[in-house]
Symmetry: D2
């Protein structure tokens, strides 16, 4: 099952399996990668937000990326996230990604420092000057507070700084406008990170999808992607509806106990454990892991979806 192009298609942001005591669980990670490739993904995005990279230290990030590149073993491209607030650390992560053999690096806006757009541009330009890897801009204002404006994205594309955009903003109107504006730069791939509107995004001309929920059902997203490419919108919508129902697994955390991130990612990991793909649903500290009650609710959703 060949993937359509380097930076397009279905590229799930891989979860990171941990053992009960918090170590990276290599055997589970390998099973998860095989599950993704068997499901027809066209790329793997390691160390994205879904990986809990924001809660890992450097040693863990290195281990995860190294294992991922080796397990994937060239079958699909591996994109490496460089989630860091400073330009210097992003460059350090880019060099690590080069060294470990990743195919591209995914960089979000600087955070904590609340930058201007001029400083966002500067961030990407400096990173580009320091790495040989193609760069995707990671637009995720919920986590980093800063919007990467359409004007900034267009500038980065026109300067040849970015090879793509991974948009997790949830702003469908701006995403669509960006897809239209970037049509003049065909080498810049537009990915949506919104699991629930992949049919919309493909209809608007997106190149691909980076669905957290793809961890749980990669084949579903591949079917949705293929239907959209074929222009079979009824089939795309039907698959989208099925996946939207499955997405309920991210809303099963007991209110107040888990946070936004652990509630969502914990849902993915609990589902993967229930499916027998990973060993535990342990989260990186300080995130709390889902308990038995929460896990039971997720099990029921998986059963209703016919995945169990």
């Amino acid at each position: 099952m060949a993937y359509p192009e380097i930076f397009g298609g279905v590229v799930p942001p891989l979860c990171t399996p941990f053992s009960a005591d918090g170590d990276v669980d290599a055997a589970s990670l390998q099973r998860l990668i095989e599950y993704q490739i068997a499901g027809g993904v066209t790329g793997i995005f390691a160390l994205g937000s879904t990986s809990e990279a924001g809660a890992m230290n450097d040693a863990q990030r290195r281990e995860v990326l190294d294992l991922t590149v080796r397990f994937v073993n060239g079958r699909v491209p591996v994109l490496a996230g460089a989630i860091a607030m400073s330009t210097g650390t992003v460059i350090d992560y880019a060099h690590m990604a080069e060294e470990l053999g990743a195919d591209a690096i995914v960089i979000c806006a600087p955070y904590y420092i609340r930058p201007s757009q001029e400083e966002v541009l500067q961030h990407f330009r400096l990173a580009h000057a320091a790495t040989t890897l193609p760069i995707l801009a990671y637009h995720i204002p919920f986590n980093v507070q800063t919007v990467i404006t359409s004007e900034t994205i267009l500038t980065l594309a026109s300067e040849g700084i970015i090879a793509g955009v991974k948009d997790s903003s949830g702003d469908e109107v701006t995403f669509r406008a960006n897809v239209a504006a970037l049509a003049q730069y065909p080498h810049v791939a537009m990915f949506t990170g919104s699991e629930l509107t992949v049919d919309y995004a493909m209809f608007a001309g997106a190149d691909g999808v980076v669905p957290g929920l793809g961890n749980v059902d990669p084949a579903g997203y591949r079917r949705l992607y293929d239907a959209a490419i074929a222009g079979d919108w009824d089939a795309a919508r039907a698959e989208q509806t099925r996946l939207t129902n499955l997405f309920a697994i991210i809303r099963q955390a007991t209110p107040g106990r888990l946070g936004f991130t652990s509630g969502a990612l914990g849902g993915f990991k609990t589902a993967l454990r229930e499916l027998g793909i990973i060993e535990t649903n342990t989260m990186a500290t300080p995130m709390m892991s889902m308990n038995d009650d929460e896990s039971l609710r997720i099990r029921i959703i998986l059963e209703e979806a016919g995945l169990l």
Copy 2:
């Protein structure tokens, strides 16, 4: 000039001087520290937000903290910031601070991952278990998006996890409520990070102030603090008014060019350069440094304030 107590008084969050090519400028840092101590500060807070720690890599942080501890040389306590989004990295920074001889560690809520309060608690408990240093909670929602609720602060105090709070929220009502609620834990020091309401905070019973503007005028904040301790509220208010006028240096960035952080911190550094204390106003990348027009406006404010 003795300082009143370990965790109280005037504790400026130190700026980090860089050379024009971005290296840590040790000579300028030493002059800045001498200027602070001569101004009567009762502690030094290294690697806080004002230090641009959010835009430094690990090697730079180590260098800055090492130099700071050595230059201060025991004359006042050195608090070390551990600005990091994950518990693991915070603990790494705490160990670095122990090794380099800092007297306390200042820890903000986890960020990027958008935690629940339960997870904020977990973050501080795990850090406390991993370090021998006293911990101050760093409440700075503008940068980390997450509020540390009064309930969380009270829980941390009651468990003996924290030795203080550095509150940069700008929420005077909640700060005041926290001061009142923590009166039962006299060993927990309450610092305000709001430069413009130090008289209010002291009037409400705060133990001290961590003023970014203190870099520029440490003696002014010490006079304000002393007046408040003496109950001379007219003098405190007059000094506050003078410092509030000086604070205009943080609003001189050309709109759109600099960001929130570089606009404010760039104002401090430009003023320090104009005062002859540090060599350049260079910022850590990707932050932009102030240009000549912006610098001129700051020079005028310093002149009006009688500092030049």
Copy 3:
């Protein structure tokens, strides 16, 4: 050209033409209504946000609704907005709408008072008990600050309180979820108020659209609607793209001079004046009207769109 059903299709929220001295301009209003009906609209929404009802007093609202009902003269249904913060005033407006012969009333969440969802429910229940007109819920959090949750909408539908929803939230994911959830209540019509994603909304199963931009190009929205109903998604998308380009008329206000509302609605009215349909682009006070520079920019967009 018959309209598909009472509460579906293309229902523009009518602009209110004023004379230069601020009186309701009946002749312009009549021309505007004829332009809409000639363009194939299936209903007229009077006194919506686009009408500037929020800046009219009661006498003006009565005059506008009275004229609208008489000019439409039964050719399509007339929906009347009841934009008011209190239940009592909403009921007063509902009675006015009954008296003047409107076919339905459109009610937003209470505002200024920042209600709970329980109070939002109470608001709609009391309005329903006081009027014989069918009620559409007007979901417009940007203006009223309060979200009408999916749970509230579902409750209102299940109790038979509402006959439809006009959703101007811009939240495509929730709109889509509401369309799916309300499929069990076929008599409840789902309208999107988002001009730029009508193809998405129709693809997701919406019943119709209430496009402010429809004032300027009603035939375009009718073609888009018809293409979607026919399942001709390529044609729908092409029409959407054309209308999206035309939507640039709402971004021509000089930054800072006009507000969000006057900048957008002023764009519609200036375009209508340039098209010769209404006499002036005067806005209700305190909103500023577009000046010559802004008008020229709009004229250019209309020319590029082939409307001039």
Copy 4:
């Protein structure tokens, strides 16, 4: 007990007592006014946010203002709120206030329409041109979404449009800056609407306070005000602390049931009922009234405060 000046001192925003069936309860209103005057208030603010004006219709507003002016009978000035989103309706309310004998009118920024500052200025200028009453600017962004910037306030003062500002923003830093900037316009009175920082505000030079909690304990706020005027800051702080503890009555609503406004105002009204001053704690629709559980919690707070 004379009041210090026309627009200064303690001016509670009066609650509106309703009978169980929602009519204005004149006897309770009269008792409430007597309670305020006996407590030493220097003015009465009718039809403010605390009055539930946002949930009244025009007939109710007229009745409340008419009764208030007659019951006060010239003993202190009566300020009349003109809470409305449009300039036209504000002017209608100003004329009503003139007719009924109020001494000033209090006007917030236009809302629903999301105006620019230029439009906010226009709003106040047009209102000023249409009324003989002095105008206070009502800064309450939580309810109207729009900030009245310091620059706008200064412009209004310099043009002689406003006689005062009632600031309920909760932004202590900007309030203080405004007090300083308006010192050059001594006829413009600065009121804080923040019950918990009256000592701060007076310390910064405010002219008075408009405390919702003053309905419940007017004498407390008068003592606080008098202590501040006398420069007895220890006494002012002690009184503030006592009132801050009493303020807990606004946090007793069961989460989710009541909204922001009904939760706070319901607390005031329930306390007034428990104190025997008003007959019921009924709220204007659609706001929910406090139930027995909530009332009991308020009763306990009143007992702890020594008011019962």
